[in-house]
Amino acid sequence: MDQLRLIAINGMLGYGYPVASLERGMQQAPHLLGVDAGSTDAGPFYLGHGVPLTAPRQIERDLRPAMRAAREGKVPLVVGSAGFGGARPHVELFLSIADRIAREEGLRLRTAVIYADLDRGVVETALAQGRVRPLAGAPHLTKEDIRGSRQLVGQMGTEPLIAALDGGFDMIVAGRCCDTSIYAALPIMHGFDPGLAIHMAKIMECGAQCGLPLAPNDCLMGVIHRDHFLIKTLHPGRRVTPQSVAAHTLYEQPDPYEIHEPEGTVDMKNAVFEQVDPHTVKVSGSRLLPHAGRHTVKVEGARLIGYRAALIAGIRDPNVISNIDVVTKRAEEMAFANLDGIDPGKVSVTWRAYGRDAVLGERDPDRRKAAHEIGLMIDVVAESQDLANTVLAMMRSSALHCPFEGRTTTAGNLAFPFSPSDLAGGPVYEFSAYHLMEVEDQVKLFPYDVVTLGARS
């Protein structure tokens, strides 16, 4: 085998893609279809609560043509970080969608399901043995962080996927998974250079984001050879250039020259990008520097920290705007003075002044510029929805009627766009874990189950 052709159906399952691009890719007899279905980008809620960011109906829309094409082409369909967060509830939601599609399409699919959930005890032992370290910027992990996590997953590398690919399944559904493993596993299994495979996969996992015009919602083909790989767009109106492909390694990465994966670090300092034709760029020179010791798996956890109630209200009066810090501070004090039996230390109240510095806070260089209108957000997080609602109601009335020197707006300081003004935001999570854990054996940590999706014979 001197080359492998892989198709990424898009950069995020549920973002959409032109089915014609997939058909064009299928004409080139690919060896694998893949798609990344998850991310931590949208914050900890989705992992913690066990729900996807993308709408199930859109997941289904993207999945159906891919499942059909993979069966017609008799190639595996690999889904990474199924259901978005990649924890068990996400994977189960994904499987229920895939099963329904398979039934409706009359398909019967032998499927390997690789759950990514981590046993708390395994992580606690690793922590006790000094095999867990924080990723840059994250706090140190504690036993309480592990035990308090609503969901706790590990981001699997290529090895668990290779074990499943080796089983010859029609479909591989992985829980939380390195985006690169989706596309790097098959080439590595067939002995292609792992540095090239992972670099190619890094570009593919965002769909045609490296294209011109860029599009996370289009297919992309990667063709790996023994000493280089090709990146090809599948839409006639989309090109790639050495710069557009090279620039993609900047995206969402702390360092454009290195990718850190469970198996090691991919060094791209000597990568060479060349134009082959308007739709194709050739890349060579990237290499994997394998870890000297154990493989490292990224551990992601999310825990419930409370419930949110929030509102946004307009301020147009110049006097109120120039006194906004006085108003918010005083309103909060007045509100807590009337909230008997509620400990202010157990409630979080955040005031954000849109139009002044809501995005950058005190780091905003322009926050002293006069605004003519402000959107004031009051954001309350407390241990129950009822308590958050109660505290927000008091903050609202206190701010609406808050006195300050020179006030002329004695009928109200705030313009509410809605009735009711107060919105219940529901549960709030935070990342309890974002750490690297050294592991002996990824395949043991992430074994696969076998299920049959679709028509029962």
Binding site: T40, D41, A136, G137, P242, P254, V359, E362
Partner: protein, 105 residues
């Protein structure tokens, strides 16, 4: 004299994981990239002063292949990473503004 905001073709920020922010400044021409990179105007100390973070936590990486300068620093908001209490920008997509006005000779 120009500002970084005037010279950049792409000026964007984004999370690199829930605890880091990364800023990409990309230029239309190699000449512009080289002018900015050689100016010495973008250093960890300059970035640190504008964001109120420690200079040793800031990385500035030249990436001539994409005519780009990358700046990576700790996330500024939230009690514990993206989406936690007090966050202002879950995706980190609007955190580049304090660098727009950096003067480039």
């Amino acid at each position: 004299m120009s500002t970084l905001g005037e010279l950049a073709q792409v000026f964007r920020s984004k999370n690199a994981g829930p605890f880091l922010i990364t800023i990409d400044v990309m230029f239309e021409s190699m000449a512009l990239f080289e002018r900015v990179a050689a100016s010495g105007a973008i250093t960890p100390a300059v970035v640190a002063a504008r964001y109120g973070v420690k200079a040793e936590d800031v990385r500035v990486i030249d990436y001539p292949r994409a005519k780009a300068i990358k700046i990576t620093m700790p996330r500024l908001w939230g009690t514990r990473g993206a989406g936690s209490i007090g966050d202002r920008d879950v995706y980190g997509a609007q955190q580049h503004a304090p660098l727009l006005s950096v003067a480039i000779p």
